[in-house]
């Protein structure tokens, strides 16, 4: 910087201007850096807030899915339970039929008809036994 006219600055003034330029540049850099940091921080906080919001959204989705899953499990259990009851009932019915059948057989065998029949057919059965042995 050289004076081109008007009042010439003294060497001290020139030095002072040079120092002043450095000081202004430093202050500007400091303010600029602070602002950039603030921008970055805000951007970062914004990103965090966005991520948190997305996490909240995903948590809500997961919670809804868990609810659905639990509901499905309940429904499956209910279905399984109903099936078990039905199976048990069928088994009980089958058992009842068998029991009744045995009872009927026993009942029949204790009847006079059965005894008469056995007496009547006794010679026939004896003949059959002999015949089987002869073979």
């Amino acid at each position: 910087m050289t004076p081109a006219g008007g009042r010439p600055p003294s060497p001290a003034a020139e030095l002072s201007v040079a120092e002043g330029m450095r000081r202004l540049a430093l202050v500007d850099e400091l303010i600029g850096t602070r602002s950039e940091l603030a921008e970055v921080r805000v951007g970062f906080e914004h990103s965090i807030a966005q991520t948190a919001a997305e996490m909240d959204r995903l948590r809500r989705v997961v919670a809804a899915l868990e609810l659905e899953l639990a509901d499905a499990r309940t429904r499956i259990q209910a279905a399984e339970s109903a099936e078990g009851v039905q199976r048990e009932r069928a088994e009980r019915a089958e058992q009842a039929v068998l029991t009744r059948s045995d009872e009927l057989v026993a009942e029949f065998r204790s009847s006079s008809t059965w005894r008469i029949g056995r007496s009547v057919t006794a010679p026939v059965r004896a003949a059959r036994r002999l015949l089987r042995r002869a073979r």
Binding site: M1, A4, G6, V17, L24, D28, E29, G32, E36, V42
Partner: protein
């Protein structure tokens, strides 16, 4: 003491309505708009200012069936101040709002005010945006207001409607004063904002102002109204310690404060130049010589020094001519290297000695002789960091009346509008806060320039004025532009504007958030364009 304990709950907001011969349709609409509030924690106080209208009396009596509605009748017409004061005496709300008898509130108004106060609990004064409707309730326009602008409030009562005051503040400032009929709201706004801890702007239209033939029924004499406004402003200047006088500059109630500081300190004009030539008034001229000879001949300011920071290309004859004009009040410094506006300005400011510094382009021409007095009056106030002027293109259209920072961009407000266009809400007639001003003509105190590190060397050509504006407002100062300091700016005659990606990056890296929404200019751009076209006829 025996008996039941009665709990008295204080409503959040009391709305004060002075009523005088209100058309019943309008009254019913106003009452409905209050009853329809989504937040029901309100009180409505209506004072009939001696209307002598049985139908109105009956309608108000019916409204008073709601326990939140208080109706009081004055025995005779005593004017809006007495009626509003009577309403205030009956108000019990934590906050008090003023509602005209023929206007409408948005159904969410009370809720929105409550939310805004919850977000900023030290709010003492709050104002909202407003819409205008005609007699039939049809929309006529909107006023999307700036954030709190004390300088602008000295030029016009821009707060308008809805304004809400904390009751304790109203009591502290003495409530509504006698003797300001027609401008009592302006007087109150000035006194309250002077002492408010916070003035909150709620940028939402929550109020519909009905403009019709009878809407100025309380303003029997507009001259008296404006006289009381000037008195309110004079009182305000006394209270806040501003020496000056008040002048009405527009018939709609726009005022100018002529500041009369007790001293006019030395002003240093810092002018970077390349010694370019250009055509002004049809003649080929050395721009810097034309600018500074004009400053010398037109300016009335008593103490000016000039520091020209000249590229080596500046002709010696131009420098010699400048020395002839300015003598020992001129210092010319030579700048080596490529044109670097920021470095040249910083060097020039450091070499100058004035308490006030004006950054000035070499392609200007002074129009108003007292431009420096006008700018200095503002710049000497401790909370103002920088002052801009009204710059005109050679064709008498506006080149600069403040910057606009929005949508990731920085531009000049209303560039190209006719010089005498008043703006959407007479904005351009008043001294007012802006987000930034151009370094083509900007005054600031040396201490502010030093505090913010001058113009950034990272922005050698473009956006250095945007950057310094941001630095100044970030430091807590206001930036004000005045339409009363006028200069021509023959922009682009000294250099072609080429913006580099690096400059854009620096600006966005530092100030991205503040480049999105401008707090001081919220008008709809389409409406502004339409108004300019209408003004041009």
């Amino acid at each position: 003491m025996t008996g039941a304990v009665t709990t008295i709950t204080q409503p959040f907001l009391t709305l004060l309505v002075p009523a005088y011969r209100t058309p019943l349709l309008y009254l019913a609409a106003m009452l409905d708009s209050v009853r329809q509030q989504t937040d029901r924690d309100w009180q409505l106080v209506v004072v009939d200012d001696g209307s002598d209208d049985p139908a109105l009396t009956a309608a108000l009596a019916e409204a008073a069936a709601d326990p939140r509605v208080v109706v009081h009748a004055l025995p005779a017409n005593r004017g809006i101040v007495a009626a509003t004061r009577a309403a205030l005496d009956l108000a019990t709300g934590v906050f008090v709002g003023l509602l005209d008898h023929d206007d409408l509130l948005d159904a969410g108004a009370v809720a929105a005010v409550r939310a805004a106060v919850a977000a900023a609990p030290d709010t003492d004064v709050l104002y909202t945006d407003e819409a205008q409707i005609d007699a039939d309730g049809e929309p006529r326009g909107q006023f999307r207001k700036p954030d709190f602008s004390p300088e602008r409030l000295r030029g016009q009562m821009y707060l308008g409607h809805l304004v809400v005051y904390r009751r304790s503040l109203l009591d502290a400032v003495g409530g509504i004063r006698d003797g300001f009929d027609g401008s009592q709201d302006y007087d109150l706004a000035l006194r309250a904002t002077e002492r408010a801890r916070r003035v909150t702007h709620l940028p939402t239209v929550l109020y519909q102002w009905r403009i019709h033939g009878a809407s100025v029924s309380h303003r029997r004499d507009n001259d008296a109204v404006f006289a009381s406004a000037r008195r309110a402003l004079s009182d305000h200047l006394d209270r806040v310690g501003i020496r000056g006088t008040v002048e009405q500059v527009h018939p709609v109630g726009v005022y100018r404060i002529h500041r009369r500081p007790d001293r006019y300190p030395l002003v240093s004009l810092v002018v970077p130049t390349r010694g370019s030539r250009g055509f002004v008034g049809g003649a080929d001229r050395a721009m810097v010589l034309h600018a500074l000879s004009g400053v010398a001949s037109a300016s009335t300011y008593p103490a000016i020094e000039v520091v020209v920071v000249a590229d080596r290309s500046t002709p010696a004859a131009t420098v010699a001519a400048l020395l002839d004009i300015w003598g020992d009040r001129l210092r010319v410094l030579t700048h080596d290297g490529p044109f670097n506006f920021s470095a040249q300005v910083n060097r020039g400011v450091l070499a100058s000695t004035g308490e006030l510094v004006v950054l000035l382009n070499d392609d200007i021409e002074v129009v108003t002789g007292d431009w420096l007095e006008t700018m200095a009056g503002l710049a000497l106030e401790s909370d103002i960091g920088m002052v801009g002027a009204k710059l005109l293109y050679a064709d008498d259209t506006v080149q600069h009346l403040g910057h606009l920072y929005e949508r990731n961009d920085a531009s000049h407000l209303v560039a190209g509008a006719p010089a005498d266009w008043p703006g959407p809400q007479a904005d351009l007639l008043v001294e007012r806060e802006v987000s930034g001003v151009t370094a083509a003509c900007a005054m600031l105190r040396r201490e502010v320039f030093d505090e913010v590190g001058g113009l950034s060397p990272e922005l050698p050509i473009n956006f250095n004025d945007v950057d310094i504006s941001m630095k100044i407002t970030q430091a807590g100062y206001r930036i004000v532009v005045t339409p009363h300091a006028v200069l021509y700016h023959f922009e682009s005659k000294s250099r072609a504007r080429v913006v580099t990606a690096s400059e854009v990056n620096v600006l966005r890296r530092r100030w991205n958030r503040r480049l999105q929404v401008d707090p001081y200019w919220r008008h709809d751009p389409d409406a502004v364009r339409a108004e300019i076209a209408r003004f041009r006829g």
